[in-house]
Every structure is written in structure tokens, then in C-alpha cells.
Amino acid sequence: MITIAHASKAFGDFLALHDVSLDIPTGSLTALLGPSGSGKSTLLRAIAGLDDLDGGTVTIGGADVTQVVPQKRGIGFVFQHYAAFKHMTVRDNIAFGLSIRRRPKAEIRRRVDELLEVVGLEVFQNRYPAQLSGGQRQRMALARALAVDPQVLLLDEPFGALDAKVRADLRRWLRRLHDEVHVTTVLVTHDQEEALDIADRIALLHKGRIEQVGTPDDLYDRPANEFVMSFLGSVSRLGGRLVRPHDIVLERAAGGSAVDGGIRATVRRIVRLGFEVRVELQDDDGAEFTAQLTRGDVEALALREGDAVVASSARGTPFEEPSLAVTVAS
């Protein structure tokens, strides 16, 4: 368990963390999610001890480590830009932490072999980081962090510098790795899809505060406020209610005028994105909104641009509207 209590940190006038408290359960894979400048990286670096907090405490496994140097926190840290030791081979990079701990040579060899296999870099073990691709470098960095058996694995935008395909592969690979190794993992990301895909728990940060903590489903289906809702996916405003575009149901106006709570609207544009179809609409008051349908739905309705439809949603705004006003004002 990692416990952060009342953490605050300022860089000059900029408040990076504002009285943040968060519990991270042992063995979980928690994502610290948020836009840039939200304080997520600062929070991660505070857990690692790479940045000092102005106030508050960090507890790892029951021990208060607020004043403890990074060397003694039992952590592994993976940087966005790999921070590979450029003058060392892959093997020596992975062995670094063990060699610092003066472990016997045979033990180091065994452990490094093991990790090379886990990250699939056996054939590259004698190469230098410059001779590896970005994805390979990041796997090396992960192996290096795991080599010292950390209590906690901290990843700072680990896939941020990689292209989309490699990122998706590595993401899946990391999830599988976590299921095997079970080390408490905290991952910083600004990509909501990544957080929803990989994490057991998400803490969503915004302007140095935590907006909501919960499972991916909690945050997606039961967002605490408009910021959370719109950060985790697209949002449409359907006659004063906030709904997900894929929760909107369209019916032809002729036969569906009686739909309870339905909003009359006109189809402005239909965009086909493979299986998904994005329908851009305008209601009778002139407000524009978007519905997300499947190709089948659109074909069944024989929808054309200019058609009059009735839009409705079974779900209402998942949070109380007053909190909306507060968020907008802040």
C-alpha cells in the first residue's frame, strides 16, 4: 500500500499539487491520469523521492518515506525517455542495480538472464541502447527497474515517446507482466484510452487536485463531474443533459414523435469511421451535438443528411448538475 497524505508542491507560482491524498493498494496497477500540468508526474516523482514535497507525507508499505532518499525507498522507476545508460550494454544496464548492491556475480548473471527472457531481449543483450528501437529500450528500462525486486514500480509516461502500434503492444505486454509479477505499479499517462485499457484503478488529476479515484468503469460510467466525464471520453449535450454519444438513440421523426423525453433534431452530417458512424445533429433550438451509432443502426434507419430525427438517451447526466457549475467556475 502506498499512501499519500495532504501532498502539496509548488514550482514558483505554479501549484503542481494541492493537498492531494491518495491510497494505492498493494498489487494494483494504478494510473495517474490527467492533462499536462495536472500534477500527475510531480506526484509520481514525489513517491519516488526524486522531487521533495512542500507538505504532506508519503508512506510505502507502512513506512513513512517522506524524508527517505530515492535509493532507499525500494522503488523501480521508468522514465518516458528511457534514461538508458548509453555507455553500457543491455546486459550491464539491467545488472546495474544488482551490481550496486554488490550481489555475487553468479546471482547477477542468473537474474539478468531471467529478466532478459521476460522482456524478450536475449538476442540483444550485448548491444548498446543506441542500437535498439524505442520499444526495446523501454523494455530494457523496465527490466532494469525490476531487477532489484522493487516494492513499487513507478512508470512516468512510459509509452509516451513511442508510436501508436508499439505503444499498444507494449501496453498489453505490461498488463500481462503485471498479472505475472504482481508488483504494485503506478503509471502516469495523459492518454485516457491507455488508462482505461491497462489500469485496475485510475486517479484523475486536474490542476494539482484529484478529481476522482476508482475503477475504469467507475470513472467512465459514474463520473463525479463534467471534467471527469469529458476527459474519459466524448460527451454530447442532449437537451441540457450530458450523455455519452454512444448512449444516444436515434429514431425517425415521423413515427417517433411520441418518444418520452426525445429531442427533435436534424442530421447535419454523417461520418463513417469503419464500424462506427458519427452523426452530427442540430436540435430545434439550434444546439449542435453528436451521436455515435453503428453502421448497422444507420443502415436500418436509412439515415441521410437533412433527415429529421428524434434523439433520446436512457441515461441522464451521471452526476448532480450543481457540481458542474463549480467545475466550470474553478
Binding site: 526524486l50 530515492p70 535509493q71 545508460f85 555507455h87 546495474f96 532489484v148
Partner: protein
């Protein structure tokens, strides 16, 4: 096309002529004069007691100056790149001062500071002869070579940033271990170039050293002073050429050694 070829040829000829007159010819003349009477004459001239003493003194100064410049050069570079302290801008400027100040001024300044009646002149009463002794020559050489290591290491430190050191820290390395195992290997190219330049400049320094040396042949003459002394005082032009050739040979050896060392390391 013809014209462009012509222009190119002209540019090359000019460049070559420039180099020939200013660099190649002087070197060639010295070599020719040194070895004109065969290798025997040259060897005899560079193995006189005064020459051997000058050779040893030059090497001794290099041996003292290089480690000092490496330690303080790297420290200053680290302070300039990583430090956030008042007066950092001033330190930046001070580091470049030796490039701007004429060596002879350095010599004069050292005499004013360390000579009889100077601020630190008192050390002479304690039995340490700075001016007209080895310490003075070392101080003069340190002054003129100080910027080399700093200015070669600084950009490399900028480029590598601090992430590798932070990674080392999270893996359990103390700052000392991180420095030896991560930072130092990362800056070794810059450091090596800084050392090569320091060695070459230390061997070749004349103006600052002549001011603070007592200039006795066989006692306090470096190789550059030997060349000067033989030529002007002894009217021994041949001996001056031979000493100059030796000086050049040492600089070339330093350059080649460092290059080989680097190549060996980088292919390891």
C-alpha cells in the same frame, strides 16, 4: 560549369598555399634543420643535461596540471550546468578570462600576488618559493589552461541531462557511485578532448611561464624556455631547432595517444 570548376580549383589552391606558407613550411624548415646533419646531431642536441632537464620539467608540469584541471574543470562544469546559485553568470565569464588575457599579463599578475611584497608573498618566508620556482610555473600553466576542460565538458553535461543519474539513484546508487559509473563515462569524450588541449597548451606555454621562471638551464627551464634560451642567449640555432622538434613530437604523441585510447574504449 567550367567556371565553377575553375573557381573551385582557385579556392583549393589558395587554401593550400595559405596552409603551406603558414603551417607546413615552418614545420618543414624546423624538421629539415634538425635532421639536416643526420639523426646523430639531433640526438646529441636533445640529450644534453639541460635538454633532459627541460624535457622532464615540461612533463612534470603537465603531470601536475592535468589532474588538477580534470578535477576542478569537471567540478566547475557541474556547478555551471547544474548549479542554481547567485554569481553563476559571473563564474561563466571568469572561466573564459584566460582565453582573453595575454599570458604575459598572467605572469605579471602572479609576480604581484606571490612575489616579494605581494599579497601572498609571505609564503616565501615559510620556505616555499613560488615565483622563480616550480609552483609559479604550475600556477601560470593552470591559469592559461583552465578553460579547456570546463568548456569541453560543459556542453556534454548539458546534453545528457540528469535523467540517467536519477535512474541510477532509483536503482540504489549513491551520488558518488552515480558520478563514477554514469556521469563520468558519459562525459569521457569531452573530458578527453579537454585533456588533450590542456596537455598541448601546457607543453607550449611560454609567455606566462617565462615571467615566473628563474630561467636557469638545467634547473628551471621548460622546453619552450630552452628553445628560447638556446636561440637568443646561446646563439645555438641548431640546438633551438632540435628542442623545437622535440616539443612538436611530444604534442603529436599526446594527440595520437588520446585518439588511440578513445578508439579502444569506444569499441569495447
Amino acid at each position: 560549369m567550367r567556371l565553377r570548376t575553375g573557381a573551385r580549383l582557385t579556392a583549393r589552391t589558395v587554401a593550400l598555399a595559405y596552409l603551406t606558407v603558414l603551417v607546413i613550411l615552418p614545420v618543414a624548415v624546423i624538421l629539415w634543420r634538425s635532421f639536416g646533419e643526420g639523426i646523430g646531431g639531433f640526438l646529441a642536441s636533445v640529450t644534453t643535461p639541460a635538454a633532459i632537464s627541460a624535457f622532464n620539467l615540461s612533463l612534470l608540469i603537465v603531470a601536475i596540471v592535468v589532474p588538477l584541471n580534470v578535477v576542478f574543470g569537471v567540478t566547475v562544469a557541474l556547478a555551471l550546468v547544474r548549479g542554481r546559485f547567485p554569481g553563476r553568470g559571473a563564474l561563466q565569464a571568469v572561466v573564459d578570462l584566460p582565453f582573453a588575457v595575454s599570458p604575459i599579463v598572467v605572469g605579471v599578475a602572479l609576480i604581484l600576488l606571490w612575489g616579494v611584497g605581494g599579497w601572498f608573498g609571505g609564503v616565501e618566508a615559510l620556505g616555499v618559493k613560488v615565483i622563480f620556482g616550480l609552483p609559479g610555473m604550475v600556477l601560470a600553466t593552470i591559469f592559461v589552461t583552465m578553460p579547456f576542460v570546463v568548456r569541453e565538458v560543459e556542453p556534454v553535461l548539458h546534453e545528457i541531462g540528469q535523467e540517467q543519474e536519477q535512474a541510477a539513484a532509483t536503482l540504489g546508487a549513491s551520488s558518488w557511485q552515480a558520478f563514477w559509473r554514469v556521469t563520468l563515462p558519459a562525459i569521457r569524450w569531452g573530458l578527453t578532448y579537454g585533456v588533450v588541449l590542456t596537455v598541448a597548451r601546457s607543453l607550449g606555454e611560454f609567455g606566462a611561464v617565462i615571467m615566473v621562471s628563474s630561467g636557469f638551464p638545467g634547473v628551471s627551464e621548460t622546453l619552450t624556455l630552452l628553445v628560447h634560451g638556446r636561440y637568443l642567449d646561446d646563439h645555438n640555432t641548431f640546438g633551438a631547432y632540435c628542442a623545437a622538434t622535440l616539443l612538436m613530437a611530444m604534442a603529436v604523441v599526446a594527440l595520437v595517444l588520446m585518439t588511440l585510447l578513445d578508439r579502444k574504449r569506444s569499441t569495447r
